[in-house]
């Protein structure tokens, strides 16, 4: 027997491994372009959040139909990958259905389950393609989805359909050969779903069937490896990043904005309040707020890479619903695009962050930032706990404190607050006037 297929398989596996390792390094470095932030507190709560939200798909089920279909694909992905283990071992050892003799009838049950899931995944993908391209669900047709994002989504669904068809084709031809008595193939009893397409292949000779079966096998395993590489270029990264992303969720109340201690020091000095570390002058004057990718935290950038552009955030955003430019999904896509741009520039020895561009202005406009009501609907809607609001508010800080670029009406509000300690222009002496009337009323 020739070792050629095994050598070829090992070579393909090695190439895929090297490419994947390089891609993971690239993504990791890009995420770390963000500023340091420690989020290791409450580990039990973090594991629980990850198990419920990522593993258990809890937030997906706010919308039942897409959640159910997504669950089929998710379970299919996880379970069918068990079969990939056998594929890899078969490929390395030159065996065929390595586990079949070991597991006996359990193997047949497992194969039937895989086939059921393959069909379920296939159907779910068809419905998803229909939702995107025929019934055109609104959140998939927003302006930020034009071009590559729509193509990316459709490609993923089509690739998954083709991969599932490869499994069914492989099983169908495999079992025809086994039933014809080809000694290399193992009869497994009935494989329900693939037996339905067996009539398509009955007319072929054994030789042709072997070619089809082998082609389907190679196509499936090489397809999965290629898909794994593709995922690192795609919005589909959520299948891995959803887990760390939910582990590093913000566990504080959603309404809380992170304090800026560097401002507190200055405020205390101005008000003559002694501060604990006032004696240490800051090494360099930090930039207030966020202008570019490196002003955000690494969690913000990981959020961006975890986003699968489902648009639930945008479809709940009051600003977007009423026709404003702001789309929380676009904020996340912009952060990722900028991280990719800077990352590629770093690798090619380009100008890196000093390319004359920045997240603010070249990707995200002030009009978008100014439209946010900070209502947290986007944060609540995200099935993997992405937080677009913290990015928006941090960029507003840059606009206000570094550029003095806030809208005129906000500047007037600032002035009122500075002079009369209220956002409206009232005299502070009148603050207690409301009590006069009630103090005269008889207590009943």
């Amino acid at each position: 027997m020739s070792f050629l297929p095994q050598v070829l398989f090992i070579a393909i596996l090695a190439v895929a491994g090297v490419i994947l390792a390089r891609r993971i390094k690239f993504l990791r470095r890009n995420i770390m372009l963000g500023k340091g932030e420690t989020r290791n507190d409450q580990p039990n709560e973090r594991w629980k959040t990850m198990m419920l939200v990522a593993f258990g798909q809890q937030k997906m089920f706010k919308r039942f139909l897409p959640a159910f279909l997504h669950l089929l694909i998710y379970v299919g992905f996880v379970v069918i990958n068990l079969e990939v283990l056998e594929f890899i071992l078969d490929g390395l050892l030159g065996t065929h259905r390595l586990f079949a003799p070991i597991l006996g009838s359990v193997y047949t049950v497992a194969m039937n389950m895989f086939e059921f899931l393959a069909v379920a995944v296939l159907l779910a993908c068809v419905v998803f393609l229909t939702r995107r391209n025929v019934s055109k669900v609104e959140r998939f047709t927003k302006p930020e989805m034009k071009g590559w994002p729509t193509m990316d989504a459709n490609l993923i669904l089509v690739i998954e359909i083709i991969l599932m068809m490869a499994i069914l084709t492989m099983n169908a031809t495999d079992q025809i050969l086994a039933n014809r008595g080809d000694e290399h193939y193992v009869a497994l009893g009935t494989l329900f779903f693939s037996s339905l397409i067996q009539p398509l292949f009955e007319g072929f000779s054994n030789g042709t069937l072997v070619v089809i079966e082998r082609f389907a096998w190679w196509f499936h395993i090489v397809g999965i490896l290629a898909f794994a590489v593709y995922v690192t270029y795609s919005k589909h990264l959520h299948i891995f990043l959803a887990f760390p992303n939910t582990w590093y969720s913000n566990l504080k109340p959603k309404g809380e904005m992170v304090n800026m201690p560097e401002v507190t020091n200055e405020v205390n000095m101005m008000l003559g309040i002694p501060t604990e570390n006032a004696s240490e002058p800051p090494a360099e004057i930090p930039r207030f707020g966020a202008k570019d990718i490196n002003d955000l935290t690494w969690v913000n950038v990981m959020n961006a890479y975890s986003c699968t552009e489902c648009g639930r955030c945008t479809s709940e955003c009051p600003a977007n619903l009423t026709g404003k430019k702001l789309s929380p999904r676009k904020i996340m896509m912009d952060v990722r695009d900028r991280a990719e741009e800077v990352g590629k520039s770093l690798d090619s020895g380009g100008p890196r962050l000093e390319d004359g561009k920045s997240l603010l202005g070249d990707y995200i406009t002030k009009e978008e930032l100014n439209a946010c009501t900070s209502c947290n609907a986007c944060v609540e809607a995200c099935p993997v706990n992405i937080d677009p609001l913290s990015i928006i508010l941090n960029m507003r800080r840059y606009v206000a404190m570094e550029e003095s670029g806030t809208p005129a009406q906000w500047n007037a509000m600032f002035q009122n607050m500075e002079t009369s300690f209220s956002p409206w222009k009232f005299s502070p002496q009148d603050r207690f006037n409301w009590a006069e009337k009630v103090k005269e009323e008889e207590l009943k």
Binding site: P253, K254, G255, E256, N259, V263, T264, E266, V267, L271, I273, G289, P318, A319, L321, T322, G323, K324, K325, L326, N370, A371, C372, T373, S374, C375, N376, A377, E380, L393, R397, Y398, A400, M401, T406, Q409, W410, M413, F414, M417, E418, F421, S422, P423, W424, F426, P428, Q429, R431, F432, W434, A435, K437, V438, K439, E440, E441, E442, L443, K444
Partner: protein, 263 residues
């Protein structure tokens, strides 16, 4: 004749007393003509029930929430640090406020600047009073049997996960509580949060408060209940825009309770 009392922290301190709770009135509660009625209603309830409370009066200043949310961290912290100095000076332990923005800021954001208090929203405070039987509701008042819808304010709901307290307060009035299509975690903002209250909206197809008002009117409710001064303004404007102000009123929870108590 005994009248309603509104003691200030300064007055109480001069007598060597400390109230159980500081009622944080907020800027809208102090200056906005419509929301002053809410402040007065809440103060009347506190008097009636005999809660030991005081206000800061002229010593209160904006919490800084709109400054922080529009990016001006310096101004926010100036306000916050000054307020914390005043409150810590009076050894404040517990704060109640009728504004979810003040509630969120004092509860979640003042601790990082040295202000640690137990902070509750007036909907939670009212719910406690009702549960303890301290507020005797007649139940046969203006609202009996009426359809009321509650508009979740973002800074109470999603920001701090308070959804049930305001609903419990409304249900205590023997009314029919009807929910809008988007409610609780999915509640739609009135459009005023994040300092939007203080500027014109960005260009778009529609104002957010109109969208929300349409949703509230679609329930067929006779009244819209809110627990936030900004929501009160936005929903009232929305109802006016739809020319429904004769049929559908917008109330704060404290007003509804005070009305039912006949005060």
């Amino acid at each position: 004749m005994s009248t309603y009392q509104v003691p200030t922290m300064a007055e109480m301190a001069s007598k060597g007393e400390t109230p159980e709770v500081l009622f944080w009135v907020g800027c809208a509660g102090s200056f906005d003509d419509r929301y002053k009625a809410v402040t007065q209603a809440f103060v009347k309830i506190l008097n009636k029930v005999g809660v030991s409370f005081a206000v800061l009066g002229p010593e209160e200043a904006c919490t800084g929430d709109p400054a922080r949310r529009s990016g001006n961290e310096f101004l926010f912290q100036m306000q916050a640090v000054a307020n914390i100095q005043v409150m810590n000076g009076y050894k404040v332990k517990k704060v109640v406020t009728a504004c979810p923005h003040c509630f969120n800021t004092i509860k979640n954001e003042y601790p990082a600047l040295g202000g640690n208090y137990e902070v509750i929203h007036h909907s939670q405070f009212l719910q406690q009073l009702i549960n303890e039987g301290k507020v005797a509701l007649k139940g046969g008042g203006d609202f009996k049997g009426k359809k009321i819808t509650f508009h979740d304010s973002c800074y109470l709901g999603r920001a701090n996960d308070v959804y049930e307290a305001p609903r419990e307060v409304i249900k205590a009035l023997d009314v029919e509580l009807v929910e809008m299509k988007r409610c609780r975690t999915k509640g739609l903002c009135c459009g005023a949060g994040g300092a939007q209250m203080f500027k014109e909206p960005e260009p778009g197809k529609k104002d957010i408060n109109i969208e929300r008002t349409e949703e509230a009117l679609a329930t067929g409710a006779n009244a819209i209940a809110v627990g936030c001064p900004f929501c009160l303004t936005m929903m009232t404007d929305g109802v006016k825009n739809k020319e429904k102000e004769e049929d559908v009123k917008v109330f704060d929870l404290a007003e509804m309770i005070a009305k039912d108590m006949g005060i």
